[in-house]
């Protein structure tokens, strides 16, 4: 396995009695797009600041290419930041902002001009060199901030919720472009966001955080398909979470029935939570359904109908369907055994990964590092 470019070893951060990060362990490999996903106050920005060097951990070690960098100041780290509010220097124009790092290193005028136009081309702002920062729109300022950070040729680019101030359409475009830039340059990106959709769309690897801890890390598909607990399942996308009992390996009981599934490795008759994603559920004829539900409500969402229903045990179900359903009518609810995901209560991430590896031979070979 290649050496990680950044490694956190039992890193903790606290201000007085206020613990912001409990013991964090993580590894970042070179050339990938990482996302720290969590709600505000989860500690994701603190991790970013520790990486960039604006904070020193109160406990634990941070390594950059194997060397401890706990006390290395930000200007000595080959890590650059795109700040949430862009932090462009208002006393300089676009060229001077992008060339700031090179000016400090005393690069030649010709070299700077070349690099700046290359970077501005990369973020699609060619010809904007002489503009003042105050003349730019939010999206353009965002691009200048990215160009400025990349002009320094960092090993790692860390981005602190850079898209949160942009409107929906622009955010979509920037997501695509950021991913594109990352893949073209092959630089490691560490992206912080609270938007799960953004995280799923852009990342190679996601760390889901809550309350100063990493709850789960994995590829977007792994995390979406196999959330470790209730919090992650709720946070990443919509889900139906139903209490159930694991009768034996590959057999789970919920909503008053027993179903074949693909999970195992639990005690017989262990109480569990069952996750079913709304888009994995189909409404069919009552006779063909695995469960029978009554439709409560339906709302049109453009590309699908969001339908809420309840079964005979009064469990509530969310279904995403392409066809409209009639409110008050009874339908059959159909899903495949692979659509059922089982979550044990209070399972640690190591146990979870080990169990998955054992029981999911055919998929997710990189579920654990």
């Amino acid at each position: 396995m290649t050496q990680p470019i950044i490694e956190f070893e039992h890193v903790a951060m606290q201000y007085g009695d206020n613990v912001v990060l409990k013991s964090i362990d993580l590894e970042i490999e070179s050339g990938k797009f990482y996302t720290l996903l969590g709600s505000s106050g989860s500690g994701k920005t603190t991790i970013l600041r520790l990486m960039a060097g604006f904070l020193t951990p109160t406990a634990g070690n941070i390594y950059f290419e194997g060397k401890n960098i706990n006390n290395v100041p930000p200007e000595k780290r080959r890590i650059n930041t795109v700040f949430q509010n862009y932090a462009l220097f208002p006393n300089m124009n676009v060229f001077e902002n992008v060339a700031f790092g090179m000016t400090l290193k005393g690069k030649s005028k010709r070299e700077m001009t070349e690099k700046v136009s290359e970077m501005l081309a990369l973020v699609k702002l060619s010809g904007y060199e002489d503009r003042e920062i105050s003349e730019l729109s939010g999206g353009q300022q965002q691009r200048v901030a990215i160009a400025r950070a990349l002009a320094n040729e960092p090993e790692i680019l860390v981005l602190d919720e850079p898209l949160s101030a942009l409107d929906y359409k622009l955010r979509k475009t920037m997501q695509y472009e950021l991913r594109n830039i990352q893949q073209r340059l092959g630089i490691t990106f560490v992206f912080v966001t609270h938007d799960q959709e953004e995280a799923l769309a852009m990342s190679d690897w996601i760390f889901v955080m809550d309350d100063g801890e990493i709850l789960q890390n994995g590829t977007p598909v792994d995390i979406y398909d196999a959330p470790i607990n209730h919090f992650v399942a709720e946070f990443i996308g919509e889900s139906n979470i139903i209490p159930g009992v694991m009768r034996e390996d590959y057999l789970v009981a919920f909503a008053g029935k027993e179903f074949e599934n693909v999970d195992g490795g639990m005690r017989p008759n262990e109480p569990v939570e069952v996750v079913l994603r709304p888009e994995d559920l189909d409404l069919v004829d009552v006779s063909e359904g695995k469960l029978v539900v009554t439709i409560d409500d339906e709302s049109f969402r453009g590309d699908y109908y969001e339908i809420t229903a309840h079964d005979d045990d009064q469990n509530h179900w969310q279904v995403q369907a392409t066809n409209s359903a009639e409110v008050g009518q009874r339908y059959g609810l159909y899903f495949d055994p692979e659509d059922i995901h089982i979550m044990r209560l209070n399972e640690s991430e190591e146990d979870f990964d080990a169990r998955l590896e054992q029981y999911e031979e055919e998929e997710a070979p990189d579920a654990s590092d």
Binding site: P74, Q84, F100, G101, K105
Partner: protein, 268 residues
């Protein structure tokens, strides 16, 4: 309707401006064209520009005001910078502002106690073996006291402009490889220039017309335009000449304001 209402509320302000700003300036201008007997004349201006004394006095004023401003700035900028980073910044700012509540005359007398032949400072100099020096009535003493009096007016605007700088800009500079010294030079100082400009205006212009301190501490060896105006109005009773110097002073202020004006945002 709304317009008339807004106008009604603004009447006191316009009245104030008219009575206490515009009228005095017009009177001053009018008076500057009068001789001692109340006849119209251009002599005052002719005297001002032809006699070397007034020109030298003006040059002196500008020179001392410039020196005092430079000294004040040299002390105030680092002080404001340090204060803006302290935990209880508002408390320290309070300590800086407090002396401005004390009457200028009292402060001047306090300095006489410090600088006099048998004053505290000379006692100290004798104690360390240098022996008593003539401190009172020197240019140095005048500049020291003037700078002391003006420091709060320089610190306040600089402090405010420093506090307003977004911390993420400082972080961004460090992030891009700037040392603390480079961050100060390339980001913090340029972004606090507005405060410096305001501070320079607040110190330079009043110092041009200081007269109390020139007399008490400078012992009339330092004669500024302010001293000259006081002399003409109170001693020689030549109001015309006093007004002429007043007009010169107003023009000097206008020039200072122009030179230290806020140029186009962010541009060079």
């Amino acid at each position: 309707m709304h317009q008339t209402k807004a106008f009604n509320y603004s009447v006191p302000y316009y009245a104030w401006l008219l009575l206490f700003v515009i009228a005095p300036v017009i009177l001053l201008l009018f008076e500057s064209f009068m001789d001692v007997h109340g006849n119209f004349t251009l002599n005052n201006y002719q005297t001002y520009f032809s006699s070397g004394t007034y020109i030298r006095m003006t040059f002196n004023s500008v020179f001392f005001a410039f020196m005092v401003t430079v000294i004040t700035l040299a002390i105030s900028y680092p002080m404001a910078l340090i204060m803006s980073r302290l935990k209880h910044a508002q408390f320290w700012l309070m300590l800086v502002i407090l002396p401005t509540w004390v009457n200028l005359l009292l402060k001047a007398y306090a300095f006489i106690g410090l600088f006099a032949k048998q004053g505290t400072l000379n006692e100290f100099l004798t104690f360390v073996g240098i022996g008593p020096q003539q401190i009172m009535f020197t240019d140095g003493a005048f500049m020291a006291v003037a700078a002391y009096v003006q420091i709060p007016f320089m610190i306040m605007p600089i402090f405010n402009s420093l506090v307003e700088i977004d911390q993420s800009l400082v972080n961004a500079a460090r992030d891009l490889g700037a040392s603390s010294a480079q961050t100060l030079r390339k980001v913090i100082i340029p972004l606090s220039m507005n405060g410096v400009r305001t501070g320079v205006q607040a110190v330079f212009i009043p110092t041009l017309s200081l007269f109390m301190i020139t007399r008490l501490i400078g012992g009339n060896r330092v004669i500024t335009l302010g001293t000259a105006i006081e002399e003409h109005f109170l001693v020689t009773q030549n109001w015309g000449m006093g007004s002429t110097i007043g007009i010169i002073l107003i023009i000097a202020m206008a020039i200072t304001m122009y030179l230290t004006r806020d140029r186009k945002q962010g541009g060079k």
